[in-house]
């Protein structure tokens, strides 16, 4: 009995032991994971690769906060513990520093860029100074004096960093608590005091952003297609998405190719933007200002084009992927050439493109035309008429529409791809501010979208800022000019007015309050073709809502494009029905409506991927690499000598134990025979 009770007591104590024990992860005690990091990824085109790459097991480097350009010396030459992980603040993220780091990359493990809370003064643009110079219309063959931005440099602040190839990872960190932890770690462990060498243990950071694709697009697409290995591995994907288009008069969508007696005025805008880091592209001035203006103009024209239809149809086109060698517009021109689009190049009368229009200094708006096509007399006459229309409506609205010097070429715009095909009269509207062109700072702060501080969020939605007012004026001007260009009556012009409530969409998109739950602006990066990008669906539905009419049918009928059970599809030639969830005014609950409109999407994949010819320089060949995991972490790292010592001791223990075992086993009979009886071996 006593033994049993002792056993029970021991079992009880043992089980009590487990109550006081909790799970302790050794990993969590060593590493601090970084949240909110944005990497730079690798993009490839027909001949080059750009972007950043890390090693498969992450790049480890000792932290160093760069204080000035002279401090680079510590990283590149004199620092005793290479490789270093350099932390940069905004004023130091310049081309000269990055190129020096790139050239000294054996001592540089990576770069982490701390994003400031407000835009840097003086501008910042990582894009090239001559955007899309090889895919536009200005080549040596078209006009040698205008090629490669010889006449005008459109992005003078451009450092071209987005188009360099780095072999270390570059991440961007938000300036928040995590970054404060990093700075503290550096100050405590790594900072050299009075010129003395910092002693181990040192604070280190590890960044993982291994990219699978390499060399260029033909190589990675070829490796995608290899299918005899056990597990086929895709390494890259083409960039692309969908374009959105709608028309003022329904066009038969099933009949592709040339349409007799149809003359179309194309009103174009771009939907996308990009920055140095992947998936961060607010593009507020470069893209959002343009497409919101066009949406507002389409809304303003709704009544006028239905009541007093002009001779020509107005086609509203929103192109995706324009930042990457005009993916969307080159696709539309290609489809028109191959009779895959409901219209033909012969149907186009003229083009009006709305570029960056959000920041007008002195209310000036520039009306750009192409000097080379204007050498043809008929084209010149049409263009002069377009300019005259624009200037006339601009004067009524107190906007000064200026024509630049006649020899100045077109800025980078989708219209250039139409001109590549044949000379068409057209005008591009721009305001010419490019301080943050295609960078992560092209956000609402750049556009001066600020509210008086005493407003509540609901009141902020109703408030009309100066930027919104300015954009409303431009939208009205565009609407009236399009109506006139399409052959409409002058008497109707005064009825075309853009609604400023529509234009405040630009604020909503840049703040991103109503549409998505994260607290970040809408990402306008075009992304890979298989992944739908956010602005396309948004603009498609907005265009439907603003130019269409509400139908009272069920969701199922709406999605099946019919009005009721017996409806035939052929009745609705030229229209599509879209089911939208919207909150009507004065309420926050969303209800579903079916809207019938002419708004539709069509694919925006570069013709190079359609034809599987990836070396063709005539079309965009941009692809994005795939990756496995992207993350970062910081930890304390010991000196190399200590690591070698630990390894050496371990190996020594191993060898000693092997020797000992061998020794003991060979002398086993002497060592172990004394206490045993010699037994007869029976086996």
């Amino acid at each position: 009995m006593d033994q049993l009770s002792t056993k029970w007591i021991i079992h009880l104590l043992f089980s009590l032991c487990f109550l006081g024990v909790s799970c302790n992860s050794v990993g969590k005690k060593i590493y601090v994971d970084l949240n909110n990091t944005v990497p730079c990824v690798r993009l490839l085109n027909a001949t080059h690769q750009i972007g950043c790459q890390s090693s498969l097991s992450g790049n480890v480097g000792v932290l160093h906060v760069l204080e000035s350009e002279e401090n680079l010396d510590w990283v590149l030459d004199s620092g005793p513990n290479p490789p270093y992980m350099v932390i940069l603040e905004t004023p130091l993220f310049t081309r000269s520093i990055m190129m020096k780091l790139k050239n000294g990359s054996s001592r540089v493990a990576g770069v982490a860029f701390v994003v400031p809370n407000s835009n840097p003064a003086g501008g910042f643009s990582p894009h090239t100074s001559c955007p899309n110079e090889n895919s536009g219309v200005y080549t040596e063959g078209y006009d040698p004096t205008l090629a490669n931005c010889k006449n005008t440099v459109w992005n003078p602040l451009g450092s071209g960093l987005s188009y360099e190839d780095f072999d270390f990872p570059i991440f961007s960190l938000k300036d928040d608590n995590d970054t404060e932890v990093i700075r503290q770690c550096y100050i405590v462990h790594n900072r050299p005091v009075n010129g003395s060498t910092p002693r181990y243990p040192l604070c280190a950071m590890q960044l993982f952003s291994h990219m699978s694709a390499v060399t260029n697009t033909p190589t990675c697409m070829r490796r995608n297609d290899i299918n005899f290995s056990i597990s086929p591995e895709y390494v890259c994907d083409p960039l692309g998405d969908s374009n959105v288009w709608g028309s003022s008069r329904p066009l038969n969508n099933t009949a592709k190719g040339h349409k007799m007696w149809e003359s179309v005025v194309i009103a174009a805008a771009r939907l996308d933007s990009r920055s140095f880091f992947s998936n961060v592209a607010p593009g507020t001035e470069s893209a959002v200002s343009g497409f919101v203006t066009l949406l507002a103009a389409a809304h303003a024209l709704r009544n006028a084009t239905q009541e007093a239809q002009p001779n020509r149809t107005i086609l509203y086109a929103f192109f995706q992927g324009e930042a990457f060698d005009y993916i969307g517009s080159s696709r539309m021109v290609y489809d028109m050439e191959k009779n895959q689009f409901p219209l033909d190049m012969d149907n186009i009368h003229s083009v009006l493109e709305i570029g960056q229009v959000g920041l007008r200094s002195d209310s000036k708006l520039w009306l750009h035309t192409d000097p080379v096509s204007r050498r043809n007399a008929t084209v010149n006459k049409e263009v002069e008429e377009l300019i005259e229309n624009l200037q006339l409506v601009a004067r009524e609205l107190n906007i000064s529409g200026e024509e630049p010097n006649l020899s100045q070429p077109l800025p980078p715009s989708s219209f250039q791809r139409f001109l590549l095909n044949r000379p068409i009269p057209g005008v591009v509207l721009e305001d010419h501010r490019s301080e943050f062109y295609e960078s992560m700072f092209d956000n609402r702060e750049y556009l001066n979208i600020t509210y008086p501080p005493e407003l509540t969020p609901e009141e902020q939605l109703e408030y009309v800022t100066d930027t919104a007012k300015a954009l409303t004026e431009v939208a009205t001007m565009v609407g009236r000019a399009l109506y006139k260009q399409a052959g409409g009556e002058d008497s109707q012009l005064k009825n075309i007015n853009a609604d400023s409530q529509i234009v405040r969409l630009v604020k909503i998109i840049s703040i991103n309050q109503n549409f998505f739950s994260n607290d970040r602006p809408l990402n306008l990066y075009v992304g890979v073709y298989q992944q739908a990008s956010e602005p396309t669906a948004l603009v498609h539905h907005l265009l439907a809502n603003l130019t269409g009419s509400v139908l009272n049918i069920t969701q199922e009928n709406c999605n099946n494009q019919r009005e009721d059970e017996e409806d035939k599809e052929s009745k609705h030639v030229g229209h599509t029905a879209v089911f939208l969830l919207l909150a009507p005014p004065n309420s926050t609950e969303r209800r579903g409506f079916c809207v019938r409109s002419t708004s539709r999407v069509f694919r925006a994949l570069s013709p190079a991927f359609e034809e599987h010819n990836y070396t063709n320089k005539a079309y965009s060949t941009w692809t994005e690499s795939r990756w496995k995991s992207i993350r970062g972490r910081i930890f304390l790292v010991a000196s190399h000598e200590l690591e070698m010592l630990t390894l050496g001791v371990g190996i020594g223990v191993l060898l000693t134990s092997l020797l000992l075992t061998y020794f003991i086993s060979s002398k086993a009979d002497i060592l172990f025979s004394s206490a045993r009886e010699p037994t007869n071996a029976t086996y």
């Binding site: 990219m211 694709a213 060399t215 490796r223 290899i226 290995s229 591995e233 390494v235």
Partner: protein, 112 residues
Amino acid sequence: MNLERLPNEEKLSLCRKYYLVILVLMPLIFSGGFAFLPFLWLVNVVWFFKEAFLKPAYTEQLLIKTYVKRSALGLLLWVAVLTTWNIIFQHFRAQWGEVGDNLSFTIPLGIP
């Protein structure tokens, strides 16, 4: 199989089999490919080395010696060829572009 328990004639016949089969029969059986498998020659050399050179002489030992020597020669030749090809392939695979990719079974990610 423990060689020590075999009579000498059987040792000779085994050694000869390993040497000849590869030299003569393999090309016939697997026409074009798998000829002269170097690993079987390596087995021959390692297994019969003690028999051929370290044991006191016996009648069959002379023949066993020749077979082992010839197997060793064949093995060395193969090793030289394979090493050279390995070095060339590793060095130039990236530059060969499409040919290099077609020759590879697994292509490493992220490096050329």
